[in-house]
Symmetry: C2
Amino acid sequence: MQIIDGKKVAEQIKLEIAEEVKQMKEQGLKIPHLAAILVGHDGGSETYVAHKVKDCAEVGFKSTLVRFEDDVTETELLAAVQKLNNDSDVDGIIVQLPVPKHISEQKIIEAIDYRKDVDGFHPINVGRTVIGLPSYVSATPFGIVELLRRYKVETKGKNCVVIGRSNIVGRPMSILLSQKAQPGDCTVTVCHSATPDIASYTSKADIIIAALGKPGFLKASMVKEGAVIIDVGTTRVPAPETKSGFRLKGDVDYDEVAPKCSFITPVPGGVGPMTRVSLLQNTLLAAKKSFFK
Amino acid sequence: MQIIDGKKVAEQIKLEIAEEVKQMKEQGLKIPHLAAILVGHDGGSETYVAHKVKDCAEVGFKSTLVRFEDDVTETELLAAVQKLNNDSDVDGIIVQLPVPKHISEQKIIEAIDYRKDVDGFHPINVGRTVIGLPSYVSATPFGIVELLRRYKVETKGKNCVVIGRSNIVGRPMSILLSQKAQPGDCTVTVCHSATPDIASYTSKADIIIAALGKPGFLKASMVKEGAVIIDVGTTRVPAPETKSGFRLKGDVDYDEVAPKCSFITPVPGGVGPMTRVSLLQNTLLAAKKSFFK
């Protein structure tokens, strides 16, 4: 059994990005610039955005944080997005979700210029991903594909089960792994809340991507010997012994499942760090205008 | 075993559309208008476009056929699309594929205003379908969903296998049936050319959508008792006894498989007529500005 060390891979990718930024600077090129919009003071959102700003600094990106109070109007928020769209120094734009209920999340997402949509949430990027055209892929699936690539996990022809059909993880993940690509070319099944017997699918799977958000859901009895397990779950569970008072728990019962696997991602330290670094990769791609002029 | 009579359902839908167009006329509204661009003189393409024009006439739509010779330049074709985009009388635009090799199919597709993209091929419509937003769904998957709905085929929680991952059939079909919707909420597996043992998946499936383009591929031994079979295949095979010299053959070995099924679509007369009528439905939706202003 081999633990897929997402933290280590993410660190390695950050070094690679930092090196590229250094060369861009030396060549007198503009350095990549990520702009983040944060509405309100939700603890989780504050943390995520702080991480993103910190990650940018670490690799030499410029970042801008635009903050609004909870009572910002949709019109004001759309105007802020528009301003960043028009700012030629800004390469990538993200709006930290969720936004307050009086604002249409979808409207905000679609207001972002798809060429700067480094979260990969805009319908154009989603559609281009499906069609197999170059596009920004949302951070978690992007990170998982990168892990499979760097650990040389064989995917072609494999039976892959994705648990969860969310727009930002399960769905794009299932599409990417099902496409004619490497990693890819899996026979993918998407299980979800309406699947009567998920174990009947997972027990035959060579690769399982657990992204349903139920801590400890995947048990050893549901997994076949030698499977590859990717755990996307990051539920906060109370942990009085820790400083923060909580710890992250994955969708996989790690202690039970790990001994049966060929590869497994731990939580924390598996998919999470890759999700963070994927945003940097997308921002670098945007700065280099890799997909769109 | 019940035969799903796509021809009959398509006729019924055409009557419904014709009735709606009649009412639109009575209310003094503009009647729906489909514009088709055809390049060259490929026999198949000529037939398809002729059908589309005829279908429009039958339900009372206006249609415009714009023809070019094989040597049309990409610039000329893009200009023609642009002209139709700007024509406020035109509700829906299709470019009959394939186009000659010196023209980028993808560029032409993306040049069509997504609000008039009644083929549902534009990345924005593909992306919106994936996200679950209102969108033009390409004609074959749209037609299949309609058949399942009208025949009241139970889909929720069912094991569904889609054979084929094309951008216009297999992929959108798998996404639609996997979404939280009715019809939908299936556990969908996508099989394709890199799947080692397709029978191991189909033999457990409650619903099989065969869209791989291999005549007679699906045999009785690959199907479980009581399955629902949707045959998307329409390969032309030589048939000297017919007037045209060929006949259409599906991906399913119908004679073998039909006795085991609960429902099955024949070829011809199953999915084909529904594909044709779906284009009319999308054009009507466009004329009514159901999704986009």
